[in-house]
């Protein structure tokens, strides 16, 4: 009986040991999975950061090229047209006048584009000014009624945060122009002591989750926006109701800088 008792105790201990080993092994596996996931997140963040850096640099180069080269050439063309004599036949006079107007418009458009692409505007003038400038550009097209509200005491965010928020607003506005068929756009910024929020809403056609699946490019665009918001520790939410418009909300917790 003693032998059976001892062997039984031993077997019970073995069974318990095996159960604990399974638990420990699974715990280690979970740790490994968590670490792997963390590494992947860090890697994706770094990739996104590099992409954004490259994008900003490209924007800056194009902006400079427009300002320094194409803009100058067009200005020269305009000057040449201005110096043309009035002795030209009336039909040609009209054409010259039209061309002058078109070139003036092209110069203005390129100047706007150059400013909009350049990082310096956001860094120097600040996020609120840059968004105001962007909304003015859209207002100028005459197709949209834009409401721009700022509440709270305005404070500056970190340069990278402001730049990414500005690009997110640009992306949201581009999406509205390209897909929403909206007539009204509302941009609301709230500077609260502990949180910064940004809200872009439109009264366009909206979309459903099913539509996003059918249009993967648009879906990836939203994911991209979400990833960018995550990069600056922001919380990105996009809600849309078909026929009632779309709303983009970004919340950014403020830790030290106010």
């Amino acid at each position: 009986m003693i032998t059976i008792f001892i062997i039984t105790i031993f077997l019970v201990a073995v069974a318990t040991g095996i159960i604990f080993l399974v638990l420990i092994y699974q715990k280690k596996q979970l740790q490994y999975i968590a670490e792997k996931k963390q590494l992947q997140v860090t890697y994706e963040k770094e990739i996104l950061e590099s992409k954004l850096e490259i994008q900003e640099q490209t924007f800056k180069n194009i902006s400079q090229e427009i300002h320094d080269n194409i803009g100058q050439v067009l200005t020269l063309v305009k000057l040449n047209i201005n110096t043309m004599t009035t002795a030209e036949p009336p039909a040609l006079q009209n054409k010259i006048s039209d061309s002058r107007n078109l070139i003036t418009k092209a110069i203005q458009d390129l100047r706007d584009l150059s400013k909009s692409m350049n990082t310096d505007l956001v860094i120097e003038a600040g996020l609120t000014q840059a968004i105001e400038y962007e909304s003015e550009l859209i207002k100028k097209t005459g197709g949209y009624e834009i409401e721009y509200n700022i509440t709270g005491n305005v404070y500056r965010l970190q340069n990278q945060q402001e730049l990414i928020l500005f690009r997110l607003v640009q992306e949201a506005l581009n999406n509205i122009i390209k897909h929403a068929k909206a007539t009204r756009i509302k941009i609301a910024i709230a500077f609260e002591p502990n949180i910064f929020t940004l809200h872009v809403t439109d009264n366009g056609v909206g979309f459903s989750a099913g539509e996003l699946k059918l249009n993967p490019v648009r879906g990836s665009g939203l994911r991209n926006m979400e990833n960018r918001a995550k990069m600056i520790n922001g919380n990105f939410t996009c809600t849309s109701v078909p026929g009632k418009g779309t709303s983009i909300f970004i919340a950014l917790p403020i830790e030290t800088k106010k």
Binding site: M1, F5, L11, I18, I19, V22, Q26, Q29, L30, I33
Partner: protein
Amino acid sequence: MTLPELIFKNFLEPFAYLVYAIIFLLKIYNETNVEQKVLLVFYVVATILLTAASVLVLYANQNVDNVWMYNIFYLLTICVLSWFFYRLLYGRLKRAFIKISLAANVIIFIIYDIILHHFVGSYNGYVYAICYISIVAYSFMYFNQLLANVTEKSILNNFNFWLVSGYLFNYLGAFIIILLYRTVDLDDTGNVWAMQNIILFLSALITLAGYLRTSRRKRYF
């Protein structure tokens, strides 16, 4: 026989199966699936059968034979648990092993109990031991499957992990008792069987703990 002796030697075993039955009854109340229904029926049958076996020996006649009930019970156990593990495991090799193991157990039962007439009045320790070791092997295969497919969810929140841990604890822990039960002195058989009953009861408690943990988490999240 004192009351504690009566409990530990006779009634702890059906009580442990009753605990299992209650666990599955509660589980079915929350979520129904075929495995749980079958296991509930199995544990209800086990509780009735083993209570009858205990009562029969205790009140009807001390010399009455109840071993045939255990012969039926162990055949039922290997059939039900083989089916349960067959549904739980999904590797081809693992499933083939279960089929072979079940077939071997049934063939051994037919040969030893029916053809060789050991069904009545004979404690078939080797047959029971094969049944026990088969279930231990199933448990190992389940753990292997669990560790080969680690998800982000902790296995402590998986009821089947607790259930199979209870099975491993019982069928490995009591293996030697089942195998050598008939070799011990007649005076000690009660104590040895009490030890088996305690291990079985502890395995039921492990499963109960698993049920409480997993059902509580489901309520909160």
